[in-house]
C-alpha cells in the first residue's frame, strides 16, 4: 500500500511551541540498599508537529521516562522530581480522571511487544473500538466502522474481516500494525512509539517506518520514536536526543547529529554501525565496557568510565547540556566538546 505523498507542514521546532515539555524529571528505584537513581533530571521537549527520536542502549531509561509521564511506572519505581507538561498542563499533578482522558486519547502509545500490550482474549475490533467509545464518545456501531477504517489505514488486507480476529491469529507484523492502529485511534496530538519495530524483520521495519511517516504527514501529529537503532530513524525524525544512563547527553537536529556528532558517546555509537563503504574485516570501532547499573552511577560524568577523552574534571562534576550552535539547537553535555567550541 503506497499513500499519496502529502506535503508535510513545517514542524514548530523553530517557533519553540512545545507540545510536550519535560523538565528535570528524576526517577528512582527502591533497592535493598536504598533508593537508586535511574533517570537523572532529564529535560526533553517535542514541538507541535515535530518528530523526536530518542536513542540509547538498553537500560538507559527510555521506556521508564515515557511510562512515568503517563504515570504507568511499575512498583518500587517512582518520580521524585521534575515535571512533564503536555499541552501546557502538568501530567504529574493532574487528577487521575483527567490523565485517563489524555492517555490513549490525545496521546497515543505503541509498545515494542504487541503480545503483552494487546489483550489476547479480546477481538481486535473490540480493542480498537474501546478507546473510541471512551475518549470520543462514539456509539458501538460508529466505533466499529472507524475500527475498520483504521485497520485499512495501517495497511491490513481484508481489514473488515480482521476485526473479529484474535491477536494470536495474526502475524507479528500484522499485530504491530494493529498496535499502531490503536495508538492512532483517537487522532492523537502526540504519538509515542517505544521500539515499535525492534523484534521485526527489516522488510516489516521499513514498512512500519514508512507508514508512520505517511500518517504523521497526513494527520500533522507530533511523534516520539524510541529506538536503539540510529540508522532506522535517520529518514524519519527532525531531531534526536541521545540518552546515556538516564540523562540526555546530546540534543541535535538530525542532520547535525549525523554530520557533527559531538558527545564522545554519540561518536562511539555512530562509529560502531557498519558502513556501506567499509572493507570487509576492518575492525569496527566500539565502546569498551558497559553502562553503569542503577545505584552504581559515577559521581561525575556518567560516561567517564568508558570515555576515551576523559579528564580529571569529568570524575568530579556532571556536565550540563549546553548549546553548541549559534541558535542553541545543538546541545551537548560534555566538558571537552564544550571547550573545543569555546576555543574555536
Amino acid at each position: 500500500m503506497m499513500m499519496a505523498n502529502t506535503i508535510r507542514p513545517e514542524p514548530s521546532t523553530k517557533t519553540g511551541e512545545r507540545l510536550l515539555d519535560v523538565k528535570g524529571l528524576t526517577i528512582e528505584i527502591e533497592t535493598r540498599n536504598g533508593p537508586a537513581t535511574i533517570v537523572d533530571g532529564i529535560d526533553l521537549h517535542v514541538g507541535k508537529g515535530e518528530t523526536l527520536g530518542i536513542v540509547g542502549e538498553s537500560g538507559c531509561g527510555k521506556s521508564l521516562t515515557m511510562l512515568s509521564m503517563m504515570r504507568l511506572l511499575p512498583n518500587k519505581i517512582r518520580v521524585t522530581k521534575g515535571e512533564a507538561n503536555f499541552a501546557g498542563r502538568d501530567l504529574q499533578t493532574m487528577s487521575n480522571s483527567e490523565l485517563r482522558k489524555v492517555r490513549g486519547g490525545d496521546v497515543g502509545f505503541i509498545f515494542q511487544d504487541p503480545m503483552t500490550s494487546l489483550n489476547p482474549v479480546m477481538r481486535i475490533g473490540q480493542q480498537l473500538a474501546e478507546p473510541l467509545i471512551y475518549h470520543r464518545g462514539m456509539s458501538k456501531a460508529q466505533a466499529r466502522k472507524r475500527a475498520g477504517e483504521l485497520l485499512r489505514l495501517v495497511g491490513i488486507p481484508g481489514a473488515e474481516e480482521r476485526l473479529d480476529a484474535y491477536p494470536h491469529e495474526l502475524s507479528g507484523g500484522m499485530r504491530q500494525r494493529v498496535m499502531i492502529a490503536i495508538g492512532l485511534a483517537c487522532n492523537p496530538q502526540l504519538l509515542i512509539a517505544d521500539e515499535p519495530t525492534t523484534a521485526l524483520d527489516v522488510t516489516i521495519q521499513a514498512q512500519i517506518v514508512d507508514l508512520v511517516k505517511d500518517l504523521r504527514d497526513k494527520l500533522g501529529m507530533s511523534v516520539v520514536w524510541i529506538t536503539h537503532d540510529l540508522a532506522l530513524i535517520a529518514g524519519l525524525v527532525d531531531r534526536i536526543n541521545v540518552l546515556y544512563a538516564g540523562t540526555v547527553v546530546e540534543d541535535a537536529p538530525v542532520d547535525a547529529l549525523f554530520a557533527n556528532p559531538s558527545h564522545p558517546y554519540t561518536q562511539g555509537l555512530l562509529a560502531s554501525i557498519p558502513k556501506l563503504s567499509d572493507e570487509r574485516s576492518i575492525r569496527l570501532s566500539s565502546i569498551g565496557g558497559t553502562p553503569p547499573e542503577p545505584g552504581r552511577r559515577p559521581k561525575g560524568c556518567p560516561f567517564a568510565p568508558r570515555c576515551p577523552l576523559v579528564e580529571s574534571i569529568c570524575h568530579d562534576s556532571v556536565p550540563s547540556l549546553e548549546g553548541l550552535s549559534q541558535n542553541g539547537s545543538h546541545r551537548v553535555a560534555c566538558f571537552v566538546a564544550q571547550r573545543k567550541l569555546e576555543a574555536a
Binding site: M2, E57, S58, P157, S171, G172, G173, M174, D201, V202, T203, Q205, A206, Q207, V209, D210, H228, D229, L230, A231, L232, A234, G235, L236, V254, D255, F258, G268, L269, L270, S272, I273, P274, K275, L276, D278, R280, S281, I282, R283, L284, S285, S286, I287, G288, T290
Partner: protein
C-alpha cells in the same frame, strides 16, 4: 581466495511433521528446508539472511546433524555426516560448534564461568586436570575476559560478557566450524561491534569457518565473504558479498536490500523503497513453482508452475529465478 570446500550440502531437505487442530487431529508437514545446495569454503564467513521463518536456523541445525535431515547429504571430511548416529558423530561433534542468540539459556546458572568453559575440555579430553586452569585462562583471554571471571556466575555478567563466554565454550573444543545463529542480534550496537571484532580476530587466529546467521544486513555486509539469501525454505541467491550487495539478481534479494536503512538522513529521506506486498506464505503449503511468486513484482506465467533451477548466473553467483536464468545458455 582459492579455498577448498569444508562442507558440501547437497539436496538438503528438512520437513517437520506436526499435528494441528485443537486435539492434534490433523497431521501436517512444515517444509522448513527444500532441496538446498551450497558449499561452505574453508576459512570463510558465509552468511544466511532472509525473513524470520525462512529456514536459516533449520539449515544450521540440520547440517550439524542436530536435526535429522529428511533427505540429502552434508559431506564433511569425506563423510555424509547427516546419516551418522550419535556415536559415529562423536568425533565430528567437537569440530562443529554452534553459538546462539541468548547465551543465558545455554549457560548453566549454577556453574561458574570457569566450569562452563572447562566442561567441554574435559569431555573431549583436550587437556589434563593439571593443565585445565591454564587452558581456561587462555580461552578467557582469547575472548577478552580477565582470568578472575572464571569464578563468576552467569548472572553476574552483562549480555556481551555472556556471549564472550559462549564463544569461549565453543572455542574450548578447538573447532573448525562454528554456526553463529543470531549470536550478536540481541546485543546493543556498541557491544555488538566488540563481538564482531572478536569473531573476526578469532577467525584469523584459528582459521575458523563461520556460518553466520543474522537478520541485520549491515552487519552481514561487514562480516561476510559470501552471502546466501533464503526464502521460505529455499536458497534464492548466493554470491560474494560484493556481488550480492552491488549486483543482486533475485527480486527478493533486491526487495530485502531496499529495506536496509543507512545511517544517512539525506539519503534515507529521499530514497524510494521497494516495499514487498503481503506476508510470507505458510511453510505448511508453500506456493507451487517459485515460492516467491505470490509477492514477486515481476512474476511471469511460468513462475507458479515450474520451480526455478539453482543456476550459476555469473561466475560464483548462483540464483533461482526464471527471469534471471531465462537468457542463460543451456
Amino acid at each position: 581466495m582459492a579455498a577448498q570446500p569444508l562442507m558440501r550440502i547437497e539436496n538438503l531437505v528438512k520437513h517437520f511433521h506436526v499435528r494441528l487442530g485443537a486435539f492434534g487431529e490433523r497431521a501436517a508437514t512444515v517444509h522448513a528446508l527444500d532441496d538446498v545446495n551450497f558449499d561452505i569454503l574453508e576459512g570463510e564467513t558465509l552468511s544466511l539472511v532472509g525473513e524470520s521463518g525462512c529456514g536459516k536456523s533449520t539449515t544450521g541445525f540440520t547440517l550439524l546433524n542436530l536435526h535429522r535431515a529428511t533427505e540429502g547429504k552434508v559431506i564433511y571430511q569425506g563423510r555424509n555426516i547427516v546419516e551418522l548416529d550419535e556415536k559415529a558423530m562423536r568425533p565430528y561433534r567437537r569440530q562443529l560448534q554452534i553459538v546462539f542468540q541468548d547465551p543465558y539459556s545455554t549457560l548453566n546458572p549454577r556453574m561458574t564461568i570457569g566450569e562452563a568453559v572447562g566442561e567441554p575440555i574435559l569431555f573431549h579430553k583436550l587437556a589434563t586436570k593439571a593443565e585445565l586452569k591454564d587452558r581456561i585462562a587462555a580461552l578467557l583471554a582469547d575472548v577478552g575476559l580477565p582470568p578472575r571471571f572464571a569464578s563468576r556466575y552467569p548472572h553476574e555478567l552483562s549480555g556481551g560478557q555472556r556471549q564472550r563466554v559462549a564463544i569461549a565454550r565453543a572455542l574450548a573444543c578447538q573447532p573448525k566450524f562454528i554456526v553463529c545463529d543470531e549470536a550478536i542480534s540481541a546485543l546493543d550496537v556498541s557491544v555488538q561491534a566488540q563481538i564482531i571484532n572478536l569473531l573476526l580476530d578469532l577467525q584469523q587466529k584459528y582459521g575458523l569457518t563461520y556460518l553466520f546467521i543474522a537478520h541485520d544486513l549491515a552487519v552481514v555486509r561487514h562480516i561476510s565473504d559470501r552471502v546466501g539469501v533464503m526464502y521460505l525454505g529455499r536458497l534464492a541467491e548466493l554470491a560474494t558479498r560484493e556481488e550480492l550487495f552491488e549486483h543482486p539478481l533475485h527480486p527478493y534479494t533486491k526487495a530485502l536490500l531496499s529495506a536496509v536503512p543507512e545511517a544517512d538522513p539525506a539519503h534515507e529521506r529521499s530514497r524510494k523503497r521497494q516495499i514487498l506486498q503481503g506476508d510470507v506464505p505458510s511453510p505448511l503449503s508453500p506456493p507451487p513453482g517459485c515460492r516467491f511468486h505470490t509477492r514477486c513484482p515481476i512474476a511471469m506465467d511460468i513462475c507458479d508452475k515450474v520451480v526455478p533451477e539453482w543456476r550459476e548466473a555469473r561466475p560464483g553467483h548462483r540464483v533461482a529465478c526464471h527471469a534471471v536464468t531465462e537468457g542463460l545458455p543451456g
